[in-house]
């Protein structure tokens, strides 16, 4: 089967940028070896395409989605080994019924294990536990020469830390050994508290710090109080707490229920609709119980219940802007960002605030730093770029950085200023990949 796949439109979750490319698939190392020789020009590994920007786009991509097998589950030590193309969703199907959970999980379960390593994803427990990279015992990496290296904090450690958060530019991650978290139940004891403004929310983050998970939704178009929002904190419920409720302790419910069948018109998510939805959401929260047991999937993956929700933004796509600001500057910086958004009148339907802790995976291009991170979704319109440039300026002035996994347009100088180890990364990359066999649109854009 030496046919070359057809060229097709490749895009990630933000549906922008879109580029023509060929997607090669493999399901075993044997097939990968053949492809490795066959592929002449540069390529990049691609999983589920759930990063938002151009991180996994190139003229040739090597899709890992069929390279997705569980290889070992050591229940004694709580370590799982799996191939990089398996999605977190598939992992959870096996893990939850056996009383295990992912130590860190992003807001969607439809990312691959390899993607989670390459973007060093974070979750609602970053303030307690750090990011995904903190829980990797080792991984096998196929570097551009074709050689396979076992990388861990003690073995090939330079490459190990360059690969965590390295956006797939050091090699193709083959299998990953991940430390797991023991859970007694698949339920989350959720606590919802609302705050009237940003200061209030940040105080809540401080006071709820002992709870394992926390995240806040904010209404950045609220007319009186931009930053008005709710904090949703939680922890894993223990078996004893479930007794009174007649609930199945380790049930899983990871299936999607609804789907957006096609791209909606670009004007659909207009500012007034976003404002209305935000008000509706705020209002609905008033009727929520302050404390309740919720299924794990609905706490961690609320958006996974709607397949293709990205199509709501229309075929022009959308931009997710996620930045982090250092703790000491967070309050001023975030206020300025919210003020800029208010002024521009651009609606962000999804605005999520989260406090990062000091724990760090050590990844050279890892996103998290101690402080506050804000993620915003903007439909892509002609006026959006102007707002984003203003936000870039604020982020740069306060010493923050942008998340590479969500970035499709960030400026090169901001990247270089905010990721101090980028030059080291580039040197290492030149050493193991002098011909730039692995290359993505993101790497070219940022001059990596």
């Amino acid at each position: 089967m030496s046919f070359s796949p057809v060229k097709k439109n490749l895009m990630n979750w933000g549906q922008f940028p879109v580029r023509m490319g060929k997607s090669y698939q493999f399901s075993s190392e044997y097939e990968l070896d053949k492809l490795w020789i066959q592929l002449k020009n540069s390529f990049i590994a691609r999983g589920m395409g759930r990063c938002y920007g151009d991180g996994s786009l190139a003229s040739q991509v090597l899709s890992t989605v069929n390279y997705s097998h569980l290889l070992d589950l050591d229940e004694e030590h709580g370590v799982l080994v799996a191939e990089s193309g398996i999605t977190l969703n598939q992992l959870l199907e096996t893990l939850i019924p056996r009383g295990w959970f992912l130590p860190v999980t992003p807001g969607t379960s439809y990312v691959t294990l390899g993607g989670a390593v390459a973007a060093d994803v974070h979750g609602k427990n970053h303030h307690c536990d750090g990011s995904f990279g903190n829980f990797i015992s080792w991984f096998d990496l196929k570097i551009p020469s074709g050689e396979i290296l076992r990388c861990s904090p003690s073995e090939n450690s330079e490459i190990f830390y360059a690969t965590i958060g390295g956006m797939g530019l050091t090699g193709l991650i083959l299998s990953v050994a991940l430390k797991l978290l023991r859970i007694e139940t698949s339920w989350i004891d959720q606590k919802i508290v609302s705050a009237h403004n940003l200061e209030g929310l940040m105080d809540l983050f401080e006071s709820e710090e002992q709870l394992k998970y926390s995240v806040a939704w904010i209404d950045c178009l609220h007319l009186k109080n931009p930053g008005h929002g709710v904090l949703m904190s939680g922890r894993h419920a223990v078996a004893d707490e479930l007794r009174t409720f007649d609930l199945d302790a380790l049930e899983i419910n990871l299936k999607t229920k609804l789907s957006v069948p096609c791209n909606l018109p670009d004007w659909f998510l207009s500012t007034w609709l976003v404002r209305m939805l935000n008000n509706g959401y705020s209002y609905a929260q008033k009727f929520q119980q302050d404390r309740q047991l919720v299924p794990l999937a609905s706490y961690f993956y609320p958006l996974d219940t709607v397949r293709h929700w990205n199509r709501m933004y229309g075929s022009s796509g959308f931009i997710q802007y996620q930045c982090v600001l250092p703790l000491k500057n967070s309050k001023d910086g975030l206020n300025e960002i919210l003020w800029n958004i208010q002024k521009s009148g651009e609606g962000s339907f999804l605005a999520v605030l989260k406090k990062f802790g000091s724990s760090n995976s050590g990844g050279w291009l890892s996103f998290p730093m101690e402080g506050y991170t804000l993620a915003l979704d903007f439909p892509r319109r002609s006026s959006t770029e102007k707002l984003l440039k203003n936000l870039d300026e604020v982020v740069s002035r306060y010493g923050g950085r942008l998340y590479l996994a969500k970035d499709s347009r960030g400026p090169k100088d901001l990247f270089e200023q905010s990721y101090p180890r980028w030059s080291e990364f580039k040197l290492l990359r030149n050493k193991i990949d002098p011909n730039q066999t692995l290359n993505s649109d993101l790497a070219m854009r940022l001059g990596l």
């Binding site: 046919f3 057809v6 399901s27 190392e29 290889l71 070992d72 191939e83 096996t94």
Partner: protein, 245 residues
């Protein structure tokens, strides 16, 4: 060891993999084959961990294996049924120009699988029960200039399955002929397939499992291919020969 087991020939194909997952999820032990058994080791581990079933990997190259008794001796027990997923979309031009490629096309898509299905069908008759599933193709329903060699090989397989079904009718061996339409697999990655008529291997696998369990004879998957092929089959030849489809 579970009560039921199934033998899947050509399990490294995308439909084969999806079928292995489907049967394992439904409480079957598996015997899976591929030309390069190492390509199935990941799948084997995966199914064993996820579904706690037994998985045996056997090496099989359909283009040159004829020693069937040796092959079946490798198996711990006679499976409940056999599914053939072996098939390769041969290049039409290469088949036309090179007789070796041409005969390989018929060997891989029809002759080889038939030899195996026949052998196991007879063993099932001796035992008193079993099932045979052959994955044919909608391409076998009518010869088209674009994939005539592949299509005619699949037609041979379908005709054989029909004859086998006829012969096994009273012998408690059930024969299913599966005719998938466009499926997104490695085999079709180089083709421009219309998105709305193309499905993924796991959907096909689910359809096959359901049809096999309910002892169907012939299924088109997805179902609408039945109507598409009904239409295509009924185009009069004097029109069809002028068409470019």
């Amino acid at each position: 060891m579970k009560e039921k087991s199934v033998l899947i020939l050509g399990a490294s194909s995308d439909i084969g993999r999806a079928l292995a997952v489907e049967y394992a999820a439904n409480d079957y032990d598996l015997i899976i084959t591929a030309r390069k058994p190492e390509t199935l080791m990941g799948l084997k581990n995966h199914l064993q961990i996820k579904y706690e079933c037994e998985v045996q990997v056997v090496s099989l190259d359909i283009s040159d294996s004829t020693d069937l008794s040796h092959f079946s001796d490798l198996m711990a027990r006679l499976p409940l049924g056999i599914i053939n997923c072996i098939g390769d979309l041969s290049d039409e031009m290469a088949c036309s120009l090179d007789s070796k490629v041409l005969s390989k096309n018929y060997r891989v898509n029809a002759e080889g699988p038939i030899v195996f299905l026949e052998y196991f069908a007879n063993r099932f008759v001796e035992r008193g029960f079993g099932f045979v599933v052959g994955i044919s193709s909608v391409a076998g329903d009518r010869g088209r200039s674009r994939n005539g060699f592949y299509g005619s090989a699949k037609a041979m397989l379908s005709t054989y399955l029909s004859a086998l079904r006829n012969r096994m009718f009273k012998l408690n061996v059930f024969v299913l002929d599966v005719r998938p339409g466009f499926v997104k697999t490695k085999m079709t990655a180089h083709l421009h397939l219309p998105k709305f008529l193309t499905t993924d291997p796991s959907t096909v696998a689910r359809d096959i499992f359901k049809a096999q369990q309910s002892r169907k004879d012939i299924i088109y998957t997805p179902f609408y291919w039945y109507w598409i092929m009904m239409f295509i089959k009924n185009i009069p030849e004097f029109i069809f020969k002028r068409m470019k489809i």
